[in-house]
């Protein structure tokens, strides 16, 4: 047990106090990198702790400030920015891979889901066209769906 904890004083890690929250921000956009996002995030909320990572950001701070920052950065690419709560603050030695070696606990789960978020992005885009969304929801599910020429052309244009 650490000295601070043994003494019953404040937590030993920065940004861990009650009322603070930490969140992951994942960006999967061809038009926005994690570095761009970090710069813009600093401009929007200087009081929030922001850590740039390979997948996006880890942000921590007062709940109202973090929520405001999330609402603002979502606007940069609403369909391709994904946000999730995090239990530990950024750089916590119990989770940070710099201290543990190997991948951070939880990395493989995020890696797995990041392969699927492109389909969720398509779903979010389709929400703006309710007729298409309704039509597809009613359509029976097929096991193998070939890549359509329209989708191939959209992928080429995006890259």
């Amino acid at each position: 047990m650490s000295e601070a904890a043994a003494a019953g004083s404040a937590p030993t890690h920065a940004g861990v106090g009650p009322g603070t929250v930490a969140k992951y921000v994942f960006v999967d956009s061809p038009e926005l990198t994690a570095a761009d996002l970090a710069l813009r995030a600093y401009e929007i909320a200087p009081a929030v702790q922001i850590k740039e990572t390979c997948f996006g950001l880890v942000i921590a701070g007062a709940e109202a400030e973090v929520d405001r920052l999330v609402a603002e950065i979502r606007k940069f690419d609403p369909d391709r920015i994904f946000v999730k709560d995090r239990g530990f603050p950024p750089g916590d030695e119990r989770r940070c891979r710099a201290n543990l070696g190997g991948a951070r606990p939880g990395f493989y789960g995020h890696e797995n889901e990041m392969r699927l978020v492109r389909y969720v992005s398509s779903g979010l885009r389709a929400l703006r066209d309710p007729k298409k969304a309704d039509l597809l929801r009613a359509k029976p599910k097929r096991e193998e769906e070939p890549l359509s020429p329209e989708r191939l052309s959209a992928i080429i244009e995006e890259s």
């Binding site: 979502r74 999730k84 699927l116 389909y119 389709a126």
Partner: protein
């Protein structure tokens, strides 16, 4: 704003969609944060104290592996608190040891037994499935108290 329990509890996609559509996702991160932020405890890596497996006894018997009881001490109170739930059936990322596997079964069972509004679906593996996935979640969340109309 309704409290929606997400399974798997660590899911990025479900957590994002639930908060995007105006509700509060209940998952592992919130339970872990509660323990990390509690001052006076320092029992790494998860601040699990001897009190937690006792809380878990409410959901799993004493002969059940202690890992299940420890995990249930995080998830159990959230399931009781939840107004609704979303379950992804084919969640490979929820795979783990026997403690994880039994906890996952128990979490799904408890969610169904509570008889709260529950949405069960599979992860999308194509654009069309993605559209169906997001549309189904939006429609489900719109029907909950405080939801944005679809």
């Amino acid at each position: 704003m309704a409290k929606v329990f997400i399974y798997p509890g660590t899911s990025l996609i479900l957590s994002d969609l639930v908060s995007r559509f105006g509700h509060r996702p209940l998952g592992s991160a919130l339970a872990v944060r509660e323990r990390v932020q509690t001052p006076g405890l320092d029992s790494p890596p998860l601040q699990i104290t001897p009190e937690d497996p006792k809380k878990g006894l409410r959901y799993a018997a004493v002969e059940v592996p202690s890992g299940v009881r420890g995990r249930m001490s995080l998830y159990g109170p959230q399931i009781e608190e939840a107004d609704a739930g979303i379950i992804v059936r084919d969640a490979d990322l929820a795979f783990g040891c026997m403690g994880c596997a039994r906890t996952n079964e128990l979490v799904r069972f408890l969610l169904r037994r509570r008889e709260i509004p529950l949405l069960e679906l599979d992860y999308p593996h194509s654009d069309e499935e993605g559209i169906r996935f997001v549309a189904a979640i939006k429609e489900f969340l719109s029907g909950l108290p405080g939801g944005v109309p679809a």
